[in-house]
């Protein structure tokens, strides 16, 4: 007897809607259904076919009961699946036995760690938003509030996930789906932080787990009530009892809603005792204690009585952990019960009995039987990771239309539940599948359909976003219109992006349009890597005749004029070098020349409408005439080229006029940036970011360099700054100059109660003066010596990760009278060594000093490089080099 079949047909999202022809659709289906795994072929498509999920870990990933029902009836359990039913010829009992043995086999492959976790409704609420905004709904069906799928017939099916996964196993899958499904149809969605967890809690929110109490934990200004705008739910789930410790660390300003049923052992009067700041206790429909919380008082004692009948009685308590020295106790007494906290065993989170998950026990005999089925039924043909031999069937070249799997009524071949349309597509493609040579256009079309790229991106001739899903695409910059929410169009993309940037986006998880809520999924290099080259070959636009630029500086300057507030004011809408634009927040243009091909840049600037009919980017050369006719004689090509030349300098370009200063992160452009305040270099710190992308922090209290680092500079929050970049070299506290009486003496630094230090050592800070690149020369007094220190950033020879730029440190001493020998601590750290003449190292730092100087390497805590200095009257210069 055959089980009732649900005739949905395997769903390949986007396939039906795509604009590729029927034969191409047939080819897509041949690959998506992995026909070549049974029907061997040496044609190229065989290698590109979608692989089935890897099964060696399935016991840890999937609930054993789900596994059983899915094998028994794939299409009934998960309508739309591409998994065929391979037991059509068996009777019901054979099916059940075979299935059971297959499950024992699959679960015998490795130790299984499957377990069930309670869903967190707070995380699920976030997960619901993420599921609908990150791009999941481009392939999977969006859901209504109850979780009903709204577009299931055209969506990649998920089935009843709460029966299949645990939160833990689904999170693991979402974080790296390609590990289990190497063919990348389920891509890596690049979920950040807790996003995978939140989506898992959402998709599994119907999971039932036995427990004692339900809880929801809130944080914020809880004394204002849980409805306050300043209160947020933080987490929810099941907890054993009313003890705060059972919830882990509960911080001040928290409220907890508990709800559950208490098993009353005998009829009688029960008393509840509470110590708390505030809270609401309700038992069996009656208020027992009602006390509004207050942030201004300590905990108080409360009690209340109620007569309860035997059996399950609902109990709910909202407890506010707020006010002075918050503490909480909750006790009950009654007939035969001494006053004490309510035992976990008396509580249940649900009135119905929820069975606990029982780990599956593998029977090795059944597993051995299952292994035989796995081979015989051909499971191993697709699921090729479990070490079972495959059993090939009739060769692909011998396949006939409407025969075997393609027949509508065969029972002894795998049943895919194909729809008539799908069957016709495959029939139509069968003959040419092995011989047809697809051109690049067709290859691109097939890939964009197989991976449903057209679920998010429009490409002419291939397809576009499903209108029914379009409204789910959202973004954070409404000013950008549709471009601010819908992923970019892919028509012409090969003529637009540089191959390197396309590779970055497609294969390395880079992205530029951070305002789009949808992520750019990663499908794996072996699956979609070929697109980079093919787009480049296929997408051709006319070549622009580039203008001759005789004076590159003039051109860059004109670019500078146009970018800024007095020109076209590009930065009014576009972010620039990480600094947010005041208005629209359009994409950051500082690296545009790395991402965009120059030819396309010219074409686009001349007529943005040509590429996006709804673009809000204005045309600055309407009708071929510049809106700034005075610059470069108003020549459009020269002006566009000037913008390009300017932007080509990237972050090093001269900072545009009118650039926003709102961002807390300070970016360095063509000149140095300075920040002051507490932070890395004490309280009187001065941070300097240099144009060569190296930075230092100077402590103007002790007049000493505290930190060198590379890469990004710093962020400020009024009164303080924080270092951003990396490769840090830290120097211990201490003044720069001191006359050591003995080399055994400690180097002086300011202790907490050295109130007059370092003025009592002759120091007085004098500030700094900036050079034309706005780099500071620090000035201070050391006794009778005026000191000026200038750090000059030097470009490095080669390109390492953060560059190999280094500092040349020029010290200039001015004194009216000759000075006796004193020491200069040029560097210090945990280990200082002399490398060669004039070259020393301190940990990661290399220090070069003039070879004429006999420097002292002093071991100790810290280990130091000391330079003895004797100054004649007048000016003396000392030059050191710091590399790291």
């Amino acid at each position: 007897m055959l089980a009732a079949q649900v005739e949905v047909g395997p769903v390949i999202p986007g396939l039906e809607r795509s604009e590729i022809g029927p034969q191409m659709k047939g080819l897509v289906l041949l690959e998506e259904l992995n026909c070549a795994s049974c029907h061997t072929s040496d044609a190229p498509f065989a290698n590109r076919s979608k692989k089935a999920p890897q099964l060696s870990d399935v016991g840890t990933r999937v609930h054993p009961e789900f596994l059983e029902s899915f094998i028994l009836d794939p299409q009934g359990t998960k309508p739309g699946t591409t998994m065929p039913n391979v037991m059509g010829a068996m009777n019901e009992e054979e099916k059940r036995n075979t299935t059971r043995e297959l499950v024992h086999f699959l679960l015998s492959l490795k130790p299984n760690h499957f377990s069930v976790q309670a869903p967190d409704s707070v995380a699920a609420e976030q997960g619901e938003k993420l599921f609908h905004s990150r791009g999941c709904i481009a392939c999977h069906s969006p859901r209504d509030e109850e979780g009903n799928e709204l577009l299931n017939e055209s969506s990649a099916p998920l089935g009843a996930l709460e029966k299949k996964y645990s939160v833990k196993s689904l999170v693991g899958f979402l974080q790296n789906p390609l590990k289990v499904r190497p063919s990348g149809r389920m891509p890596n969605m690049q979920l950040q932080g807790r996003e995978a967890e939140q989506i898992a809690h959402y998709l599994l929110r119907k999971t039932k787990v036995p427990g004692s109490l339900n809880f929801t934990l809130y944080q914020g200004r809880v004394w204002e009530g849980l409805q306050s705008d300043s209160v947020e739910a933080a987490r929810a789930g099941l907890v054993d009892d009313f003890k705060l410790e059972s919830l882990g660390k509960v911080s001040h300003q928290t409220a907890i809603e508990y709800q559950g049923w208490i098993d009353i052992p005998a009829q009688g009067e029960y008393t509840f005792h509470l110590k708390m700041n505030g809270g609401f206790l309700r038992v069996d429909g009656q208020d027992i204690v009602v006390e509004e919380p207050s942030n201004r008082r300590g905990p108080k004692d409360f009690s209340g009585k109620i007569t309860l009948a035997k059996g399950l009685r609902e109990i709910s308590l909202t407890y506010f952990h707020t006010g002075r020295e918050p503490s909480f106790s909750f006790e009950m007494e009654g007939p035969g019960l001494d006053r004490k906290p309510i035992a976990s065993s008396m509580l249940t989170s649900s009135q119905e009995t929820v069975p606990a998950f029982e780990p599956f026990v593998v029977d090795q005999d059944l597993a051995a039987q299952g292994r035989l089925h796995f081979e015989k039924l051909g499971c191993a043909n697709c699921h090729d990771d479990v070490g079972a031999p495959s059993r090939k069937r009739i060769e692909f070249s011998n396949l006939r239309k409407n025969k075997g799997c393609l027949s509508s009524d065969s029972s002894d071949t795998p049943r895919f539940s194909l729809t008539d349309t799908q069957r016709n597509w495959i029939n139509g493609a069968l003959k040419q599948a092995e011989t047809i040579a697809l051109d690049d256009h067709q290859e691109i079309g097939k890939t964009l359909v197989s991976f449903n790229c057209i679920g998010c991106h429009e490409r002419s001739g291939v397809g576009a976003i499903d209108p029914a899903r379009e409204s789910y695409f959202t973004g954070s910059k409404p000013e950008l219109g549709n471009q601010g929410r819908i992923p970019p169009v892919l028509s012409h993309v090969g003529a637009k992006l540089t191959p390197e940037w396309m590779r970055d986006v497609l294969l390395r998880g880079q992205r530029q349009r951070h305002y789009l809520d949808a992520s750019m999924p990663q499908y794996g290099e072996s699956n979609v890597g070929h697109l980079v080259e093919k787009f480049g070959k296929v997408d051709r636009l006319e070549d622009v005749e580039l203008p001759e630029i005789s004076d590159i500086l003039e051109s860059k300057n004109a670019g500078y004029e146009m970018i800024g507030a007095d020109g076209f004011s590009c930065i009014a809408c576009h972010d620039y070098n990480g600094q947010e634009a005041g208005g629209a927040g359009a994409l950051d243009i500082v690296h545009v020349t790395d991402r965009i091909q120059k030819n396309w840049f010219h074409l686009y600037m001349r007529d943005p409408q040509r590429f996006h009919s709804t673009v809000i980017m204005p045309n600055y050369w309407p009708g071929g005439k510049s809106v700034r006719p005075k610059l470069l004689n108003g020549d459009p090509a020269k002006q566009i080229e000037a913008l390009w030349n300017y932007l080509e300098d990237g972050p090093r370009a001269k900072k545009p006029r009118g650039l926003s200063r709102q961002s807390n992160e300070i970016r360095v452009s063509d000149v140095a940036e300075i920040v002051r305040g507490r932070g890395t270099a004490g309280f009187r710190g001065i941070g300097v970011g240099y144009p060569e992308r190296i930075n230092l922090a100077f402590d103007s209290e002790e007049m000493a360099v505290r930190l060198l680092w590379k890469g990004d500079f710093a962020s400020v929050n009024h009164g303080s700054f924080r270092v951003i970049g990396g490769e840090k070299i830290t120097f211990p506290p201490g003044i720069p100059f001191h006359r050591l009486e003995s080399l055994d003496d400690d180097w002086p630094y300011k202790g907490e109660t050295d109130y007059l230090f370092p003025q009592d050592h002759g120091y007085q800070f004098g500030g700094y003066e900036l050079d034309e690149l706005r780099r500071p020369a620090f000035r201070y007094q050391y006794g009778k010596i005026s000191v000026e220190e200038f750090f000059e950033d030097q470009a490095g020879a080669n390109d390492s990760a953060n560059g190999s730029a280094w500092f040349r440190r020029l010290l200039r001493f001015d004194t009216l009278e000759a000075q006796e020998m004193f020491h200069f601590r040029a560097a210090a750290g945990s280990k200082a060594t002399r490398v060669s003449d004039g070259v020393f190292s301190v940990d990661q730092l290399e220090l070069t000093i003039p070879t004429s100087i006999e420097a002292i390497v002093r071991d100790g805590e810290p280990s130091e490089i000391l330079i003895p200095l004797t100054l004649p009257a007048g000016q003396t210069n000392l030059i050191l080099e710091y590399r790291w």
Binding site: Q286, D287, I288, V289, V290, E291, E292, S294, F302, S303, G304, K305, I306, G582, G583, G658, L659, S660, R661, Q662, E673, I674, V675, R676, G677, R678, G682, F683, R684, S700, E701, V716, H718, G719, E752, Y755, L756, Q759, Q764, F765, G766, G767, Y768, E769, L770, R774, P776, R779
Partner: protein, 404 residues
């Protein structure tokens, strides 16, 4: 079964009352009447400018200078036109929070947390390139240690009031003191006993004052006279007398609990506040202040002190007088209807009062559009005789008979 209904009712009532008492922006319910005499005009701040000023100055050419908590100094042209047509120019950047600006002889002197700095433009492009430290000889090693600076006094000194290390302790040199910094960079300690001072400046007679915030030893905000050798009430800063040549640690410490008037009899050096501002009714976090010497352009309050409040969104005014060698005075409501965040005030050459408040946005407080505003006297000129009838009740009589 016990239900605590009564208690809930009482609490709810109490909560409602306390909310009403602290309703910011509607301190006296007089905004409408005041607007007739002192309309408030917004000076637009472009979105790319992070404003939040901690101090203002008027440049010799009539431009407004604003020193910000981000550590920038902007020169603003056209701010005083009505309507304003402001153009912002970034003169200096990269400093710590600036709570004092004073322009003299082509140099801008800025008081920031760690030092007094003379900022100047050497190459004439109107962008500062020299930041010369006048002094940094006070201790600064804890987060709450604010520093507020005055304008130059007639001798060219900058007075700086140094907050304690929090409310109770003075852990670093001269915290809780006011010091005077000479043009040569010499730092002269003046008086001890401050807690968390705000603005510093003179009254019409040239005596220097600073604002004190309520907290330990200070029941409410007050205006304190920075009397040389004086002790202004909070004894945490006693520990620095040993670093001041010519000053002795007071022989007696004030008692608590007690009253300043009682303790004044015991502690010889104690200088009680000239004005105490009734808490909440007139000020909760009074910040900066400025003497009105606009020659009558700002109405009838010439030579009076105008003060901003950081949390209550109000402007107050105050008068001082010396009786038996002791400064005393009175305070009056002036203008409400602003938003919170007023750190300082300034008078324009046209006799307008400049302040900046901040509007809280959905993204959190203080980040987005701040409002730089001026308030100018119109009604006072139009209806001088009606001026005293601005308010009703008790305040009315105070207004009718200013102490000066």
């Amino acid at each position: 079964m016990v239900v605590f209904r009564n208690l809930i009712l009482f609490l709810a009532l109490f909560a409602a009352l306390s909310v009403a008492a602290e309703d910011l922006g509607e301190a006296w319910g007089t905004a409408e009447a005041e607007a007739e005499y002192y309309p408030i005009v917004n000076i637009a701040i472009p979105p790319e400018v992070p404003m939040r000023p901690g101090s203002f100055e008027i440049l010799p050419d009539g431009r407004l200078a604003a020193g910000t908590r981000r550590g920038d100094i902007y020169f603003i042209e056209g701010a005083f036109e009505n309507p304003p047509v402001p153009k912002y120019h970034l003169f200096a950047s990269g400093q710590d929070e600036i709570f004092g600006l004073s322009w003299k002889d082509g140099v801008m002197t800025a008081t920031q947390f760690g030092e007094v700095t003379q900022i100047s433009d050497l190459d004439g492009d109107e962008v500062a390139d020299r930041y010369e430290t006048l002094t940094n000889n006070w201790g600064y090693a804890q987060g709450h240690e604010f520093a507020f600076g005055s304008k130059h006094d007639p001798e060219g000194n900058i007075w700086v009031a140094l907050g304690l290390s929090g409310s109770y302790h003075s852990n670093n040199l001269f915290r809780g003191w006011a010091v005077k910094v000479t043009a040569e960079g010499k730092m002269i300690p003046i008086c001890s006993g401050l807690r968390s001072p705000g603005g510093v400046g003179p009254n019409a007679e040239g005596a220097m004052f600073c604002i004190e915030s309520q907290g330990p030893w200070n029941g409410s905000c007050s205006l304190k006279h920075l009397k040389p050798g004086g002790f202004l009430g909070h004894p945490a800063s006693y520990n620095w007398y040993r670093f001041v040549p010519g000053m002795e640690t007071p022989a007696v410490e004030p008692n608590t609990p007690s009253r300043l008037q009682i303790e004044k009899k015991r502690v010889e050096e104690l200088v009680p506040p000239a004005i105490r501002f009734p808490y909440i009714k007139m000020g909760r976090s009074i910040s900066g202040f400025r003497l009105n010497q606009t020659g009558g352009k700002f109405g009838p309050f010439e030579n009076q002190i105008f003060l901003g409040d950081y949390t209550l969104s109000i402007i107050l005014r105050a008068t001082t007088e010396q009786v038996n060698g002791v400064w005393q005075g009175a305070c009056y409501p002036f203008r409400e209807g602003l938003a919170t965040g007023i750190m300082n005030v300034e008078f324009s050459p046209k006799g307008q009062l400049i302040a900046e408040d901040s509007q809280q946005t959905a993204n959190g407080p203080f980040v987005a559009r701040s409002l730089l505003r001026f308030s100018e006297s119109t009604g006072a000129e139009k209806h001088p005789s009606r001026f005293g009838r601005l308010r009703s009740g008790k305040m009315d009589s105070i207004l009718r008979s200013p102490s000066r």
